[in-house]
Amino acid sequence: MDLLAVGASPADFAAARTQMAFTLGFHIVLASIGIGLPALMLLADWRALRTGDAVYRELAHRWAKATGVLFAVGAVSGTVLSFEMGTLWPRFMDTYGQVFGVAFALEGIAFFIEAIFIGIYLYGRDRLPPRVHLLTGVPIVLAGLLSAFFVVTVNAWMNQPRGFRLVDGRVIDVRPLAAMFNPATPPQAAHLILASLMVCSFIVASVYAVALLRDRRRGVTDRYHRLGFAIPFTLGAVLTPLQVIVGDWAVRFVADRQPIKFAAMEGIEHTEAGVPLKIGVFEIPNALSIALRFDPDATLRGLDAWPVEDRPPDAIVHLAYQLMIGIGVALLALAFWWAWTHRHLIRARRGRPGGRSPVRWSPWLLRAATLAGVGAAIAMEAGWTVTEVGRQPWIVYGVMRTTEAVNPAPGLRFGLYVVLVVYAALAAATISVLLRMRRPAAAPAEPDGEDGERP
């Protein structure tokens, strides 16, 4: 069969891109939780083991249950992506599969280790000594981080292709490690791993923020909800300022290496000196030139510096970029608010006898934290949109166009329809299962013995 002989119809091409974006966008949130939640679970388990505190133990058990469900959905939704690499983009795989294959082989190994130890940790509690059981959780977290890293190297390679030469449409001189450790790998990997931990932290915290607000209305204090909120929220709050720094690095990298993507992100239409910074409908004169080059009159290339057929759909990239930045700034403000609320803890940790009364958290902080979960996930999707749509019309930047990669088989759009239906049901089912798995003590009728309500 000659793959290069025919082309896909525009409708099928659009469907293939939509399907990839949709399934990846779905997986990315679950993958984030799959990386972060085992870490939270392990942290609670470790505290439970150290202190014998029943509340930590219950958190560890709850988070293990949720991990069991969400890891499985994440694993299978990730498998779909492996299939789609071939069913949607066969010509991309045909030409370049061997160049980035090693990254996926390593990712496969990491995923294998994750799956093995998820089984051991979740089902082995009664079969292993507590300390050994705790240690079996460590490979889950490490392998999760590594597999995120390996996958991102491939996306980084699509932005900065290296490690091969192209002769007559076939690759030669393949250097897989040069492909994997391409220049975009460090900023993209750091940015994505931080983002995934933030998304998980803020989503978990938002669930407990809702519970705390409800407790507040009822006039009760539940330490289970307080810890369930404070642990992930603190993690998210610590990571947010780091993410701002890494994000700045990532933007500068894009400005240097993929200036057309940068022009789309910042909405620079014409090449000019003294470029203003556009925020929504406002413009701050010369601010972008200052921010990027530390020179108010620096010249930045606009989209008109490139031929029309090489430009990405800039409106959506610009919008997504602003959305990501806006949410990032809001999360940063929330992180500082959280730190300010606990300033006495940061200042003086020593010399305090036990039994201090719990810090009062402003209901407005909790309301904002409720939104932070969804917000962080939206920011991640927006960031992903920036990097993916901003790379268009290329699937491999400057080397292969997305239209050249797509499966020419007719009817791809029907695949999209089926996927949309199945994933909508999957999302609804996942959320409903998680809601029904909640601790029943939250129900007013049944306070839960040892670690229920405390005055």
């Binding site: 499985a72 492996s82 061997q98 090693v102 082989a105 393949v174 999957l426």
Partner: protein
């Protein structure tokens, strides 16, 4: 031996492991569905009498080990006649399946990822050609994988929701059927997946998975449940073994296979039936696996794909081999531990 040969060997090892472990998990879904249908059929005839039932018990409770447990199926099916032996037996069968699959199915599933990654790295044009040509059945298989895995954990989290168990069973049939159909179409030299050879191979693959599952579950049932459940799986394994054997016979004639692998498969299949009759449940796992995997190897010999011509550059493959070699140092002991830990008798607790 060239790099391409090694890579092909690795793909075959991965495919075999996926059939023997992942395939058996799909087969287990079939037996789960069958047990459920039997229980339902019995319950339906009695549920009318149980009007005014106490409703579903939906609460989680703190179990003996201090952690939370889902309501058992006994509570969840309290509207049925609890004492009904058919329902009790069906539930016991399902519990054996869930117990056996729970810790290992995700690891077993990764063999598929391994096969796909190895194929697209080592033989990119073949991966591209197969995936684009058979995108419909392969997309269905992928969606089946999504539904199967999700429904399995959902059903475990909420045993009172019968829907998830049903979705688990049905998708466990869909996925091996679609994969087998693609394999059959390739083996027949590129016919469609809906062609007779595709349909035949889809059924054969589904049957093989069901057979393997019944064989494995017989030993699991002896370890986890009573004699009665073990006997049911044993009878299932015998029936599935005979059925798959009869199904495989015309295939050898149709595809004109004269490989010694077919003889190997037939002998191993007969030995397995004998071992099942003799109740040698651990030995039969080995012979049944051999019977199934030799069918796979025989089919691979039919494909006529040009692996040598499609192979990636040695530089690319060399790095992959190194990565896999280093990974195996961690993987092999971990995987062994996983299986040993959960195959150990329950008394070890």
């Amino acid at each position: 031996m060239s790099h391409a040969d090694v890579a092909l060997g690795l793909v075959l090892v991965g495919l075999s492991a996926y059939l023997l472990f992942g395939g058996a998990d799909f087969g287990a879904g079939f037996w789960h569905l069958l047990a459920r249908r039997r229980a339902r059929a019995t319950a339906r005839s009695r549920v009318d009498r149980a009007a005014g039932s106490p409703g579903l018990v939906e609460s989680w409770r703190v179990g003996v080990h201090g952690h939370l447990e889902a309501p058992t199926r006994h509570e969840s099916t309290s509207y049925m006649d609890r004492g009904d032996p058919a329902i009790v037996r069906a539930e016991a069968e399902q519990e054996v399946i869930e117990h056996a699959m729970g810790p290992v199915w995700e690891a077993n599933h990764v063999w598929l990822i391994f096969v796909m990654v190895m194929t697209w790295t080592a033989f990119p044009p073949i991966f591209a050609a197969v995936m684009s040509e058979y995108w419909v059945p392969l997309s269905l298989a992928a969606l089946g994988i999504v539904v199967r895995g999700s429904a399995f954990v959902f059903a475990k989290a909420l045993p009172q929701t019968g829907w998830y168990a049903w979705a688990f069973g049905v998708s466990s049939l869909l996925t091996p059927y679609c994969m087998g159909a693609v394999a059959g179409a390739i083996a027949a030299g590129g016919t469609g997946w809906l062609s007779p050879s595709g349909v035949y191979a889809g059924l054969l693959c589904t049957g093989l998975c069901g057979y393997l599952a019944a064989v494995y579950l017989t030993a699991d049932a002896r370890r986890l449940a009573g004699r009665e459940v073990t006997e049911r799986f044993r009878r299932g394994a015998l029936a599935a073994g005979v059925a798959v054997g009869l199904l495989a016979l015309p295939g050898t004639a149709f595809f004109d296979v004269s490989s010694p692998l077919i003889a190997l498969s037939a002998i191993a299949g007969l030995v397995s039936l004998a071992l099942l009759v003799l109740r040698r449940y651990l030995a039969v796992r080995v012979s049944a696996a051999l019977a199934a995997v030799s069918v796979l190897w025989g089919a691979c010999g039919l494909s006529g794909l040009d692996f040598e011509g499609a192979a990636a550059h040695d530089a690319a493959l060399g790095v992959v081999f190194w990565a896999l070699g280093l990974g195996a140092i961690v993987l092999v002991p971990s995987l062994t531990w996983l299986y040993v830990l959960f195959q150990r008798a329950e008394e070890a607790r």
